[in-house]
């Protein structure tokens, strides 16, 4: 029987078998370019998505396990953020995306899908995280280019941006 999943607030019929990892469905059937393959082993965070607001590794999550749940990918993050803050129209970028550009944090940028998804999850739960909280929350996300220091700075900057938006 055809499966359907809800991705970025849109219901999508899919033809993959139920055991197919969500990542392959998102990239090949739904043609999304946010989540991406890095290890396929839940070790790196390259494939991260939000499932009901919680970061999950799409590379090891069978698609059938997330039917009926709200899946948010990097593409849908600004709208998800708008939903969180009650804004009427989604911003062009989540504040963390803007902060990462402001800090010129990226090198190759391949790991940033996971960095942004995980960072956004953190900020949604902990609006003003300490350095230690950031390091702990982000520890499961690897960056081979070694851009961690500027990601930490950018998360602090995003927290300030978001505080500014609230007042």
């Amino acid at each position: 029987m055809a499966l359907s999943i809800t991705v970025n607030a849109e219901r999508r019929e899919i033809s993959a078998t139920p055991d197919t990892p969500l990542l392959y469905v998102l990239t090949n059937e739904l043609k999304l370019t946010g989540p991406r393959f890095g290890c396929g082993l839940a070790q790196c965070g390259s494939c991260s998505v939000l499932v009901d607001g919680v970061e999950r590794r799409a590379c090891v999550t069978p698609v059938a396990a997330v039917a009926g749940r709200a899946i948010t990918t990097l593409e849908g993050l600004p709208a998800w953020h708008a939903g969180q803050t009650g804004a009427k129209t989604p911003p062009a970028m989540h504040p963390l995306q803007q902060a990462l550009i402001d800090e010129q944090a990226l090198q190759c940028g391949y790991c940033y899908n996971g960095m942004i998804i995980k960072g956004a999850e953190l900020l949604s739960k902990t609006p003003d995280p300490t350095d230690a909280q950031i390091r702990k929350a982000m520890n499961g996300h690897l960056c081979r280019c070694g851009t961690y220091p500027r990601i930490i700075k950018a998360i602090h900057r995003a927290a300030r941006l978001m505080a500014g938006q609230r007042t």
Binding site: Q107, C108, R144, G146, Y148, I152
Partner: protein, 734 residues
Amino acid sequence: MIAPTEMLLPRRDLLKLGGALLIAFPLIGRAADQSGPPDAKQIDTWLAIHSDNTATLYIGFVELGQGSSTGLAQVAAEELDLGMDQITVAPVDTQRSPNQGGTYSSAAIQRGRPQVALAAAEARAALMSLAAERLGAPVTQLRVERGRIAAEGSAATVTYGELLGNRPFSLPFSGQARTKPESQYRLVGHPVPRRDLPAKVLGVHRYIQHHRLPGMLHGRVVRPRGQAAYGAGARILSIDETSIRHLQGVRVLRRGDFLGVVAADEWLAVQAAQALRVIWEKPPALPGQEGLHAQMRAAKTDDRVALERGALDAGFRDAVHVRTQACLGPYQAHASFAPHCALADVKPDAAVVIASTQDVFGLRRSLAPLLGLAQEQIRVQYAEGAGTYGHSCYDDAAQAAALLSQLAGAPVRCQFMRWDEHGWDTYGPAHVGEVRAAVTAEGKLCAYEYHGWQHGWSLVETSAQLTGTAAAPWPASGPQGVNPLDAGGMYDIPNVKLVNHWLPALDYLRGAWLRSPLDLSFSFASEQVMDALAHAAGLDPLEFRRRNIRDARWLGVLDAVAKAADWTPRVVGPRSKSRGKVLHGRGLGLGTHLVSHGAAVADIEVDPATGRVRITQLWGAIDAGFIVNPANVESQIIGQLVQTASRMLLEEVTLDGGRVQSLDWSSYPILRFEDCPEVTPVIVQRPGERSTGAGEETMAAAAGAIANAFFDATGVRLDRYPMTPERVRKALHA
């Protein structure tokens, strides 16, 4: 002669998200007439002016996430007096890009800047004479701003776009034009934001992993988990296709020992590659990483003196203090964050291959014999992947995609799995270094000797080797042996001898250049011996180095890093011996890769009870001549320092049991957020100097600084890295 597809695209849309790197590829061009590279002696090969007053720059260097395409766009925009928003960089393609050689050794800016500046200056001169004619004024009275030309005392203007609009220059590139004096620069030497970042944070940037070809199949290679010795390859004894009978729609493809699967569905191909039961011939045993260095040291080697100056024995006779230091360096992996991926459409008489190679022309050369095609029948297009840090699996993946496409008779996208990437990498080679050096009573270096044991790089990629091409070492040349610049080269030493002891490459793992090739090992040994001599002479390590360096540029980076780190004179060694307490240490190091100068300071903590080392702060200073984009070089230094911390503390390819065992991020750990040091990049800007590489040079310096900080904390010299807790405990309790 230039009719690139992107000229026909609406440029404004392309520029919206940040420009250069967003140009859509003509993914699969006609494969015929692929006689590139175009003639580098024509201006049109380098630049095109469009009717909307924008320009496209064609370069042969690829964007590896290091920001060099932004840097070269700055150079061209500077000479042409265009804004950064008016210039895009075309994707690299054997058919359309000038052949500037591979993007190696952080050379995109070093070799690219002069070429691009000259081409742009010559294009500007041509545009100015057209403008002079159009505006009826002599060239000397013309001014340009953002590609709009005005004559003094006249209101009339004309733009580059109006003068040339989409037509070629049709001019030879003489290389004789006068480039702008640096004093007039408004872009080069100033920080410019990376242009590829907005698309990357939005997730709409297309990495090679996102490319698709019409009608393509998904391919995966099937190999043993983890390579054996390079010379051993991998031999198939039998394949049991019934093991994947349950997976409908999979084809098993083979040429010699090259084996792969293809399927229309990617997940099916992934499952099949894992499920296919293959019996491989048992390879000859590897020494295992605990026995590795002893085997290297005892092996029959081909010994070559790399450098000899003065009289070494006499130098040591004059000495008051002599110190020695060894370095046992591990194999380390490139471990690109994204496993390599390539797409290929191989037809009987033509092929198109899309790859994230460092050298599109080099890849084309290696594909021709493999596919039985002439080079002119093969078009290679570059697409960006994740950072590679040297020669990793990109050409191997490209060969695999091409072979699978040829065997399947259909376009194929082949992506490596994590274990393919980690297990079949061309690793940064292991090293044994032994250094002996001496000082006079005045604390002046008088003799220096370095012996290095290592094997060269492997020339033949795994895919080609498995089809039957014999393994072969890279011809001995380049920076693969003892680097005279790192091995005492920054110091003023009258008597020097450097010797390479070449190991037979086929007996060891596959090897190639890994960011700052072997420099970390050289500096680990050499900078420790310098510190030990300073210590013996009772001198502050900074003062010791100052006394022994004459070169103003080495002194410049040394002073810059010392100032940034607020270095206070000290005699190194532990201040507290109390057991069970975390010890603090600070160290200094110098190093380089090829031309530029690097210096670093490290602050570390060592817990003697657990053996755990934490690098708390790193400062890295670079002098890379005149730096085109300081913002980008700062970012490069940050990456270098973090990667060095990772390589000094954690990274080691393990190879017990005949095969490589480190196949993923848990068996090959790298540094994570929680252990990431604070890092401070320091730039020594040198107006008027040639721009040189800036992607590697602080790494060797930081390796030396970290090793010296360890001694400062503990009073013990390590002769091996990574500094794993177990090794540290052993060293402290020896």
